[in-house]
Amino acid sequence: MAMTMAEKIIAAAAGKESCKAGDIETVTVDKMMSNDGTTHLTIDMYNNLKNPHIADVSKLVWIIDHNIPADSPKTAASHKKMREFAKENGITFYEGEGVCHQIMMENHVRPGELIFGADSHTCAYGALGAFGTGVGCTDYLYSIVTGTSWLLVPETIRFNLHGSLKPGVYARDLILTIIGKISANGANYKAMEFAGEGLHDLSIADRIAICNLCVEAGAKTALMEVDDVAMDYLKEHGREPKAIFKSDDDAEFSEVYDIDLSEIEPIVAKPHFVDNIAPAKDCSDVKIDEAFLGSCNNGRIEDLRVGAAVIKGKHVHPKVRFFVVPASRAVYKQALKEGLLDIFMEAGAMVMNPNCSVCWGACQGVIGEGETLISTGTRNFKGRAGHKDSFVYLASAATVAASAVAGYITVAEDL
C-alpha cells in the first residue's frame, strides 16, 4: 500500500506494516521533550498519581529555556522543582543552553523518530525527517508514564519546492508566504511535507525555520525528505538516523502545491495573525519601537550572519531597542568567534543569553501599551509580546535588522 512519510513513521512507531490517514494508532514515542513553560504542571500531576513511574527515562529531555534567567521568585521555584525532579530521576537536563528546539536539533533528533514535545513548535524536527508534534502536559505525562500515546494518522499536504530563493529572500519569507496562502488553520490536523529539488538548496537552518512555523497553519507535524544536507548535519553532530522514510510516488496527498522559490519576496506577517501577510516593501509607514532577532525560528548562526551583514557599520535607530538572542550556546559561541556579536553591539544592539526571550512575551524585552515590535519570533497574536494593546510584525532576520536601523519597516535593500 502506498504511504506518505507521516504514515510510514507512525506505522513504524505503532509496530505495524502500514497505516493510513484517519486511523487512530497507539504508538511508542521515541523521545519526549518538555520545557519550563509547563513541566512544573507535569510534575504536580505525576506526583498525584498513585503509582508514579517513568517508562524509559532515557527518552526524556527537559530544558529550561523560556524564563532563563528566572525573572521572579515564582519562576525560580518552578525551575527548582524541574531541576530537582530531573536530577532525582536521571532525566537528561539542560538549563540556559538554548531554546529547546535548537537544543533538540543539535543533540537529539534523528530521522524517522516520533517525538513528543510539550511545546507547539516541536514540528521543527521535520527538518531532519522526524515526526515532531506538540502536546499539552497531560498528554506528555501519559507518554512518559506509559511510553506510548494515541495518534490520529494525519492527511498530508505536499509542497513541491522548485528553483531557488532570490538573494535577500529567506526561508522565513517562504514559510510566511505559504501560511498566508493556506491560512492559519489551512493545515489543521494535517502534516505539511516539503520535497522537490528546491529543498536541496536550503540549509538545515532554513529547513528548521520552515518546519517550525507549520504549527501556525495548524499542522500536526512538518516533514522533509532526508538528503545529503541532512545526513551531513547528522554526521557533524555525531548521530545516525533511526530510519529514513519518504513518501511513495503514488502516496495520497490531500492537496499538492508547486512553489517556485524564485517568486518569493520579503514578507511580513502583520498583527494579529501569522497568516495576515503583506509584502515588506508595503509596510514602510509602520514605525517600530523594538526589534528582535532570535527564537527557535530564526536565531541560528545563519540568521545572525544575515542580520550582522545588514547592520554592519550602521547604527540602531535612536528610538528603537534591538535585542539579539542567539538560539543556543553553540550558536552564541560561533557568533562570538565570527565577530558577529561585536558587529551587533557596535551598532547599538543588546545581545542577550540564549532563551525564548521576546518571542514569548514574559522573560525579556516585553513591549508596552501602543508599542510596535518587529520580530523573527514565532507569533504575532494580540498581546503575545507584552501589553494587550501592542503590535507585533513578523519578518526575516534581514528585514528585522534593516528595520532596527531605519526605525520603520523596510527591506534590507532599501536601507
Binding site: 498525584n48 524564563n67 518552578s78 507547539s120 502536546v135 490536523y189
Partner: protein, 161 residues
C-alpha cells in the same frame, strides 16, 4: 441534556487570548481565572457563570500547547465550547481536562450572545427553536471526557479509583 447561556467569540481565538503568557506562572488555575480572555474582553471572565457555554468560529485554541488554556476555561465552569473548528493541540488538551468540545458548522452564524441553548451531547443543540445536529465523539475520547480527563480515565482503566 443541559441548558447554557451563550457567550460569543470570533474566529482564531488563540491561546494567548485565552490565557496571556504573563499569568502562566501563577501556581493555581484559580488565580488565573480573572485573566481568561483578558486581551480581547477584560470583563468576560467575571461575567461567565458556571454552566455557561462559549460559541466561536474557526480555529478555536490555535497557538501554544499551554494546557492552562483549557484548564482556565474549565475552571470558569464553562459547560462546553461549540465552534466551527478547533486547533488540534487545544482539542486534545481540552478533552484531556474533561472539557467538552463540540464542532458545529452553522450555529455560530445564527445565534447571539445571551441566547440560551439546550445541549444534548452526541445528538443536538437547540437554540431559538432551531435544532443543530452534532456528532458523537469517538469512544476513546468519550471515555476520557466521562471520567473527567485523561489522568482520571487512566486511573479508572487501571482500577485505581
Amino acid at each position: 441534556m443541559f441548558s447554557a447561556k451563550i457567550w460569543k467569540l470570533g474566529d482564531d481565538i488563540d491561546t494567548d487570548i485565552i490565557l496571556p503568557t504573563e499569568y502562566l506562572a501563577f501556581e493555581t488555575v484559580q488565580e488565573m481565572k480573572p485573566y481568561a480572555f483578558s486581551p480581547l474582553r477584560p470583563d468576560l471572565a467575571s461575567k461567565i457563570q458556571p454552566g455557561d457555554m462559549i460559541v466561536a468560529g474557526n480555529n478555536f485554541g490555535c497557538g501554544s500547547s499551554r494546557e492552562q488554556a483549557p484548564e482556565v476555561v474549565k475552571a470558569l465552569g464553562v459547560s462546553c465550547i461549540v465552534a466551527k473548528s478547533y486547533a488540534r493541540i487545544f482539542f486534545r488538551n481540552a478533552i484531556n481536562n474533561g472539557l467538552l468540545l463540540i464542532e458545529q458548522p452553522d450555529l455560530f452564524d445564527e445565534v447571539s450572545e445571551g441566547d440560551i441553548a439546550e445541549v444534548t451531547p452526541g445528538k443536538e443543540i437547540k437554540v431559538n427553536g432551531k435544532s443543530y445536529d452534532i456528532a458523537s465523539l469517538p469512544d476513546n475520547l468519550t471515555e476520557i471526557l466521562e471520567a473527567g480527563g485523561l489522568v482520571k480515565a487512566m486511573r479508572k482503566r487501571n482500577g485505581l479509583d
